[in-house]
Amino acid sequence: MDIQQTALPGIGLKHEFDTHSGRHIAVISHRSGRRDLIVYDRNDPDRACEAIALNDDEADALVELLGAPRIVQRLNDLHREIEGLVSLQLPIPAGSPYAGRTLGEARIRTRTGASVVAVVRRGQVQTSPGPDYRFEAGDVVVVVGDEENTSEVSDILTDG
């Protein structure tokens, strides 16, 4: 994908690209911090037919929504690229001893050497959860390590 960057003197920066479905979209980053999401006209590709102004919170929310599934996918790509590196998505089953307990209590890195890099809860991704992050039944824990220690994590999360 080819992202083009254009300076807008006095305003900020524009990044734009063509989607595979043939639409042209852009994001304008104003110096004031405002972001505009721009969708271009099909008939007149030079014209912005929609310009949606987003404040900081809205831009963050949009990034989260668009980015969540991508993080898991990128981890899988990483896994494929590096020999010996394993990333697993491990669900916390209803009967798990750690449902309702914190990541710190599970002492996963100390016990196995594998790392918890993210937790997916109801479609939202929490990246790099801290030791006081509390698991819930139904969470999907994303673990990175080697073949052996990731399967140990799987056992811990299911049976304690």
């Binding site: 254009t6 300076a7 807008l8 003197p9 006095g10 305003i11 524009k14 852009a26 304008i28 110096r31 004031s32 505009d36 721009i38 271009y40 006209d41 008939n43 007149d44 590709p45 030079d46 014209r47 912005a48 310009a51």
Partner: protein, 388 residues
Amino acid sequence: MHHTAIVFLELGAIVLALGVLGALALRFGISPIPLYLVAGLAFGEGGLVPLETSESFVAIVAEIGVVLLLLTLGLEYNANELVTSLRGNALAGVVDLVANAAPGVIAALLLGWGPVAAVALGGVTYMTSSGITAKVLSDLGWIGNRETPVVLSLLVFEDLTMAVYLPVLTALLAGVGVLSGAVSVGIALLTVTVVLVVSLKFGRFIEAFVSSPSAEVLLLKVLGLALLVAGIAQQLQVSAAVGAFLVGIALSGELAHEARALLAPLRDLFAAVFFVFFGLQTDPSKIPPVVGLAVLLAVIGMATKLATGAFAARRAGVARAGRARAGIGLIPRGEFNIVIAGLAVAAGVHPDLGPLAATYVLILAAFGPLAARLVEPLLTRLVRSSPS
């Protein structure tokens, strides 16, 4: 009546009238600049309610208005942007200069106003109002359009040209000889270059000096620095406005953004008074004889800007509708045309130049944004009906 009482009454009447006119402009979505000019005509000599005592005070306020206009313009850009823009769009910028200054220069020469008036009138017909154009682009949602970077870089080029043009004009208006004129132009070019280099390499030192967590301190430092440099520039006959512009260029990043936000209300007040002051100096009874010429120049001015925009956008690979939008976006004239005309009027170049410039800007400041609004749906329909 007591002197202070009269001054307050007159100033109050002016500022209040401007407020009401501003609200009116907002209501109809047009630039308030033409309305401010009309207000000045009404208050001035031969107008409806001529001012008696406060004109000298208004004159100083107007001068500060010019400094603030140029300072905030400079704050919008940083030196990097200027250099990049200059490199990429020099040809389009030169076409813009030649095509749009020529009508003013030729008109003044044909009228027999002399070469100095020709240089001044060329400046009046050349400059696009970056303030009005930026507002049109943002109001119509054109900022994301592909022709917009072209329009913006032309505006940058014009502003940089002005940094060289104003000192030349100042020297010519001062009536200095060819030699000292050349010297003062040399000083101007040198100053502009030095400031650009200094702000590219050492901008952070100036920023470290000006920067402050307190909005009050920042405001006072930036304003003080701008007025001081403007004064020095005026003394060197480089033009006060250019001094202020260069101070704005030297400041960049977050600091420039903050300073701009702080200065905006001040600029709005002082610049509004500047437009009134220009109107004050213009006798309304002098306008009717020049209306025909002003309309002719305005029509030519629209055509030349349309052609310039189309040419520049075409070079950037923009299709037909976008080329038309680029041209229309460049039509509005406004604040800087009045700044140029103001300098010429103050030097007493030609009695008809003030009224002509006022009428010209009145037409194009009002009609430019209107044209953009009218043409937008037309262009959209045109593109829809002929699918590519």
